[in-house]
Every structure is written in structure tokens, then in C-alpha cells.
């Protein structure tokens, strides 16, 4: 084993070789990817189901954290490291903390389960089934969907890194990006207006 390792090369070159070797080795082992992808997909779905079943809001919120985290791992497995990291930092690390914060602040208690309306049972389940079938059908039928959407295999290969995403974000999708930021600004202003008490109340309080 030990004598297999070495060629007389400089240390860093050997390191790069090692990394490349491992990467190709892992890329080739498609099975490992598939297994990991399915496992985290299952964890993700289980978290989502648990989110609905739990009675206490804080348990539901934590299940949502699990969903976000396993989604991040799925992105990672698809080769989008940057998106995965941002998913964890923004959703699991910031937005969900705010959820938990609000639940703690309101000290929300356990909820009672209702039987659910008949309309939800009658329309909801067939609706979900129909949407699932349509999505599966579309994915199976046309393998060219990705190409039609402008995501070529070459592009998707390099999709994960920050440079490509910023190219897309600040060139092709600049207008939607800026408009979204204004939308967020409006939402913040709305929250401030709703949260701020009028002057007359404040004097008394």
C-alpha cells in the first residue's frame, strides 16, 4: 500500500493530483451519489411530513430546519456548492432562527388537531396526486427540458460556483434581481409601519 503512493514530485503538485484523482473517482462512483441523494431526499420528505404532524410549533419549525438542511445537501450532491452554502446560511441559519425567535417570543402553546375539512380531503389529495403525476410525466417524457430552459449540460456543470451565479444574476437577470430587492424593501417598510405604534398610544404606554 505505502509504496503505491509516491512519485517524486513537489508536495503541492502531489496534492492537486490527489484531489483530482479523488474527484474523478467520486464522480465515477455514480452509485454512491445516488444512494446519498435518495437518503437525503427521504430525510427531506420525512422532515416535511413531520412538520405537518407535529403539534407544537417549535417542533414544526425544527422539522423545517431539517428540510432546509437536507435540501442543502441535495444541492451539494448536484455540484452546486455555493447554492448549498447559501441555503444553509440564509434559510437554516437566519430565516428559521427568526421563526424560532417569533415562536419563543409569542410563547405559542400546543395546537389541537382538527379533523380537517371535507373539501381538503376531497380536492387536496387528488390535486396533489395530479400535480405529482404531471411533474413526473414531464420529467420522464422530455429529457431535453433542461436544454429548452437554456441550461445546457456545460452550463449546469459549472453552475455551482459563485462566479457563474453572479454572471447570471448581474447580467442576464439584473432587472428581476433589482426589482426583488425593491419588493423586499417594501415588505420591510410595511412591517415597520405595522409594528410601530401610533404616537398617541406611545405616550400612554
Amino acid at each position: 500500500m505505502w509504496n503505491l503512493v509516491i512519485e517524486s514530485q513537489s508536495a503541492s503538485l502531489l496534492g492537486f493530483k490527489l484531489q483530482n484523482y479523488l474527484i474523478t473517482k467520486l464522480r465515477n462512483s455514480f452509485m454512491l451519489h445516488l444512494i446519498l441523494f435518495s437518503v437525503f431526499g427521504l430525510i427531506c420528505v420525512a422532515g416535511a411530513v413531520n412538520l405537518l404532524l407535529q403539534r407544537h410549533p417549535i417542533n414544526s419549525a425544527l422539522s423545517l430546519v431539517v428540510v432546509m438542511g437536507s435540501l442543502a445537501v441535495e444541492y451539494l450532491l448536484l455540484g452546486a456548492e455555493f447554492v448549498a452554502a447559501i441555503q444553509v446560511i440564509v434559510y437554516a441559519g437566519a430565516i428559521m432562527v427568526l421563526f424560532v425567535f417569533v415562536i419563543m417570543l409569542l410563547n405559542a402553546g400546543e395546537e389541537e388537531h382538527s379533523q380537517g375539512s371535507h373539501v381538503a380531503w376531497l380536492l387536496g389529495i387528488p390535486g396533489v396526486l395530479a400535480v405529482t403525476v404531471i411533474i413526473c410525466w414531464a420529467l420522464v417524457r422530455s429529457e431535453g427540458t433542461a436544454v429548452a430552459l437554456g441550461v445546457t449540460p456545460e452550463a449546469s456543470k459549472a453552475f455551482g460556483n459563485a462566479a457563474d451565479i453572479s454572471q447570471l444574476l448581474f447580467h442576464q437577470f439584473l432587472l428581476p434581481f433589482e426589482v426583488t430587492s425593491i419588493l423586499v424593501l417594501i415588505a420591510i417598510m410595511g412591517a415597520v409601519v405595522l409594528a410601530a405604534r401610533p404616537e398617541s398610544d406611545r405616550r400612554e404606554g
Binding site: 496534492g15 456548492e81 452554502a85 444553509v88 446560511i89 441559519g93 424560532v100 419563543m104
Partner: protein
């Protein structure tokens, strides 16, 4: 390197780094007690071992044998999980932090780092941002007013200062052009004007970013002057009021491990990482960068303790106003100026 050998080397590295990290955590506590003691004209620990050096071991044994009390009114699953969450995320972030160059033993060559990823900095930020859950959940699940207030304060404070902290790092990222921590250190090689080292703290006004980072880091790790989540005079002990024995020790370990991570990041991003004079025989040349890195981390930790011995605690509204009205605009201004400098040169 064959795959079994790679796995063997990785496991050895993980065990070694974990051991060093946890020892460092224990001795940072000792250092703090000693330094703060001398600042307050006391001796600090002196009884156990020479200079009290065995005090951390004694404390560890004490924590292990103390009664682990669970108050009857807690929400048990999260009460038990919270300290684990805190300590796991605090320790995990060390996985992507590089400590030095490459190590060559005989025919094996490996970096001083568990793993090098091209988004290393983002991973550290992501993992440390998950650490908030430990604090927030412990505060909530303890079902006590002091704990809840401490947890609320901690989560609000950590989210607020995380924004300033993240923005202060963007300037460095613009100058370095990579997320890889190793790449960022490589970008700080050499000197300018002949003698000043090419560290980011000296370049393009990043000293402002360093100030923002330093301040937000104190708030992120809940340290004086921003230790409001555990302010003794108001909240008994804040979010860990209801914890005892090893569960309490886990929060303690998480806090100090976070301090060390923050110190490592500061050295890597602003102070040139492991760069320094390297000389002597081959083995010394390999180990000296490690020494320079540890020296920086030690200096950073010392400043942490120094600040604790010097500054009083902020009021909570002062803390929030300082974060949102001063640090955040300053960080954005620094970002704009840095990108202008980079664009124009």
C-alpha cells in the same frame, strides 16, 4: 495516495485536531482565569499543579461527577438536545480551517487541515450560524423566565451582528477573489513598499473591516462587552441558568471553541494566516508556519480576555443601536469603497 491511505490519514488528522482543539478550549479557560485574575490584582488558579496548570483537568473531572440535575418543568427533548447542538456546531467548523502549509513525512504529503474546500469561508459561516439554535432552544426549553430572556437576547443579537460580520468579510473576498481559506492566505503572500507584509489588514482600508469583524465577533460569541444573554446582574446566568454538570460544561466548551474559531478566521483573513519568517532545517521549516499561526490565534484570544478585563457591559438598546446604526452602515461603506478601489486599480 490510495484511498485507504487517504482515509487513514484523514482519521488521524481529525482525531489529532479534535484533541488539540478541546485541549486549547480547556486552557483558554485557564488563561482567562489567570489573566483576568492578574488584571484584578488576584492570582487566579494556583493550587492544582504548578501555576494552576492542572486546573482544567480538575474542572473536567468535577463536571463529569457532578449530579446532572434536570428541573421538572423543562421540555425534555430539546433541553437535552440544545447543549449538544451548541457544542457540535462549535467544534465542526474547525474542519475546513487550515493551520499551515503542507506536511511531508517520508513519502506522505498532506495539508495542515482536515479538508480543503473551495467554499471554506461560507462553510464556516454556515456552521457557526447554526450554533444559534443551541442557545435559542436551551433558553426556550428550560421553561424559565431568565433562560427565555437570555435565549431571546442571544438569538436577536447573533442575527443582528451576523450581518455586519458577513459584510465585513466581503471586502477581503473582493481583494482575494476566492472563498477558499487557503486561497485567501495565498493571496496575502509577499510585501508591498518593500517591507510591509501583504496582509489584508494593511490593504485597501481593510483595517476598518477588521474593526467591524472584531466587534461583531465579540457579539457573536456572547462575550463581554456584549454578554447580555448571560448578564449575571439581570438574568442569573441567562440561557444556561437551568443547566448543571456536563450539560453546562458543553455550553462553556461551545463558547470557547467559537472564540478559537473566530480567532482562527481573523488570523487567516486579515493577518496573513501562517505567514512569517521560515528558516532552519527541513522539519523546522515545516513546523514554523504552524507556530506563527498559533501565535496569532493566541494574541487574538489574549485581546479577547483583555477586553473582558477592561470594558463594562453594554445596555441592550445600546447594543442593538450600535449594531444596526453604526456597524452595518460602516460595513456597507467599507464594501462600496473597497469595490471602487478594486474597480479603479
Amino acid at each position: 495516495m490510495s484511498i485507504p491511505l487517504f482515509i487513514l490519514v484523514s482519521v488521524i488528522k481529525i482525531a489529532l485536531i479534535l484533541f488539540v482543539l478541546l485541549t486549547a478550549v480547556a486552557y483558554t479557560v485557564w488563561l482567562e482565569r489567570k489573566v483576568v485574575g492578574h488584571m484584578q490584582n488576584r492570582w487566579g488558579p494556583t493550587r492544582v499543579g504548578p501555576f494552576g496548570l492542572l486546573q482544567p483537568a480538575a474542572d473536567g473531572v468535577k463536571f463529569l461527577f457532578k449530579e446532572d440535575l434536570t428541573p421538572p418543568h423543562v421540555y425534555k427533548p430539546l433541553y437535552v438536545a440544545a447543549p449538544m447542538i451548541a457544542v457540535v456546531f462549535a467544534v465542526t467548523s474547525i474542519a475546513v480551517i487550515p493551520f499551515g502549509n503542507w506536511l511531508n513525512i517520508g513519502k506522505i504529503s498532506t495539508p495542515f487541515q482536515i479538508t480543503d474546500v473551495n467554499i471554506g469561508l461560507l462553510i464556516v459561516l454556515g456552521i457557526t450560524s447554526m450554533g444559534v439554535y443551541g442557545v435559542a432552544l436551551s433558553g426556550w426549553s428550560s421553561n424559565s423566565k431568565y433562560s427565555l430572556l437570555g435565549g431571546l437576547r442571544a438569538s436577536a443579537q447573533m442575527i443582528s451582528y451576523e450581518i455586519a460580520l458577513g459584510l465585513s468579510l466581503v471586502g477581503v473576498l473582493i481583494l482575494a477573489g476566492t472563498f477558499s481559506l487557503r486561497g485567501i492566505v495565498d493571496a496575502q503572500a509577499g510585501h508591498f513598499w518593500g517591507f510591509i507584509p501583504n496582509w489584508f489588514i494593511f490593504r485597501g482600508g481593510q483595517i476598518v473591516a477588521f474593526f467591524i469583524y472584531l466587534t461583531s465577533a465579540y457579539a457573536e460569541t456572547n462575550r463581554i462587552p456584549f454578554d447580555l444573554p448571560e448578564a449575571e446582574t439581570e438574568l442569573v446566568a441567562g440561557y444556561h441558568t437551568e443547566y448543571s454538570a456536563m450539560k453546562f460544561a458543553m455550553f462553556f466548551m461551545a463558547e470557547y471553541a467559537n472564540m478559537i474559531t473566530v480567532a482562527c478566521l481573523a488570523s487567516l483573513l486579515f493577518l496573513g494566516g501562517w505567514r512569517g519568517p521560515v528558516f532552519g532545517p527541513d522539519w523546522l521549516q515545516q513546523l514554523l508556519p504552524l507556530f506563527w499561526f498559533v501565535l496569532r490565534v493566541f494574541a487574538f484570544l489574549f485581546v479577547y480576555i483583555w477586553v473582558r478585563g477592561t470594558l463594562p457591559r453594554f445596555r441592550y438598546d445600546q447594543l442593538m443601536a450600535f449594531g444596526w446604526k453604526f456597524l452595518l452602515p460602516l460595513a456597507i461603506a467599507n464594501l462600496v469603497v473597497t469595490s471602487l478601489v478594486v474597480a479603479l486599480t
